[in-house]
């Protein structure tokens, strides 16, 4: 006897590839699950890359629209998330080219080394902000300061930090997404982290005085 097959609830499909296969097989409504899953992450990425709300919204919209249109050409050669973020990175670059942003800035390793050397000249104990349990530091205010510090990174460092430290892509995945060498990704990530550390050190050391 032929029975009616009840499709599982969309939220039950955890695996992106399985979801994409079902969408391509005709269950197009399931694209909503991908949107629910990735729109907030793309928006967070967009806010930090574009540094303003309208551009971040455009980025999310363009990325999802492009993903929907090109989904039939997705060949499962990479993770869906990687493919999606590749579209987002390209959309972001296109937007920045259009906006004719200032020439890319460098974070000179020499400057960062000089700061490290200054620190080394008067070594002290590991500061309180690096010793306290993380939960005791976290606050909405600090999150905003971290976001602001990330926003102040030059774009080529910011995108690496966002993909590696926020989105959790590996060095190799980030290199493929950005068409860089893994060594280049590591160098940019390290400089970005050193730069942020300098910014946050000031905020946290001041904020924790008397704590």
């Amino acid at each position: 006897m032929k029975t009616e097959r009840t499709p599982p609830a969309p939220a039950a499909v955890d695996d992106d590839d399985a979801l994409v296969r079902r969408i391509l097989a005709g269950e197009r409504e399931l694209f909503r699950v991908l949107v629910e899953r990735y729109a907030p992450r793309l928006y967070t990425f967009g806010r930090r890359m574009c540094r303003n709300e309208p551009d971040a919204e455009d980025l999310v919209q363009e990325t999802l629209l492009s993903a929907f249109r090109h989904l039939p050409e997705f060949r499962f050669e990479s993770k869906f998330k990687n493919w999606l973020f590749r579209i987002a990175v390209n959309a972001c670059r296109k937007k920045h080219r259009r906006a004719r942003l200032a020439a890319e800035e460098e974070l000179a390793l020499e400057d960062l080394d000089r700061r490290l050397a200054d620190e080394a000249a008067r070594p002290g104990a590991v500061p309180l902000w690096a010793r306290l349990p993380l939960e005791r530091l976290l606050s909405e205010e600090l999150s905003a300061q971290v976001r602001e510090a990330i926003g102040s990174l030059p774009e080529k460092y910011r995108v690496v930090l966002l993909l590696r430290d926020i989105e959790g892509f590996s060095t190799e995945e980030t290199a493929r997404l950005l068409r860089l060498t893994p060594v280049n990704v590591k160098v940019r990530l390290h400089r970005a982290r050193l730069f942020l550390r300098e910014r946050l050190k000031g905020v946290l050391e001041h904020g924790l005085q008397g704590a």
Binding site: A120, P123, L161, R193
Partner: protein
């Protein structure tokens, strides 16, 4: 980075590998060398601890939720896309 108790030349060289160390991307012998240095050098240990905390703070910085009006617009766009008869063909995009 430098510390009075040991060979200072190693510090700067090591500081460039701290991120890779924190990410578990060094091989066993490199990792051992970094750990031995960190155990002997307060300045480098301090650098590693503050860099590690910086990464943790980045990871935990609250995500920014979709603004409600935008979420509604996106929902409308999606409804229109899904109501269209079929996905239009376009140039290949490898993935």
């Amino acid at each position: 980075m430098a510390c009075r108790e040991h060979d200072h030349r190693r510090c700067l060289e090591l500081s460039r590998r701290i991120s890779a160390y924190l990410d578990g991307e060094l091989d066993a012998s490199e990792r051992r060398a970094v750990e031995e240095h960190l155990a002997a050098c307060l300045a480098c240990a301090c650098c590693a601890a503050t860099l590690k905390r910086t990464v943790e703070l980045c990871r935990r910085a609250a995500p920014q939720p979709l603004p409600e009006p935008f979420a509604r617009r996106l929902d409308g766009l999606l409804a229109r896309l899904l109501a269209a008869p079929r996905v239009p063909k376009s140039r290949p995009r490898r993935g």
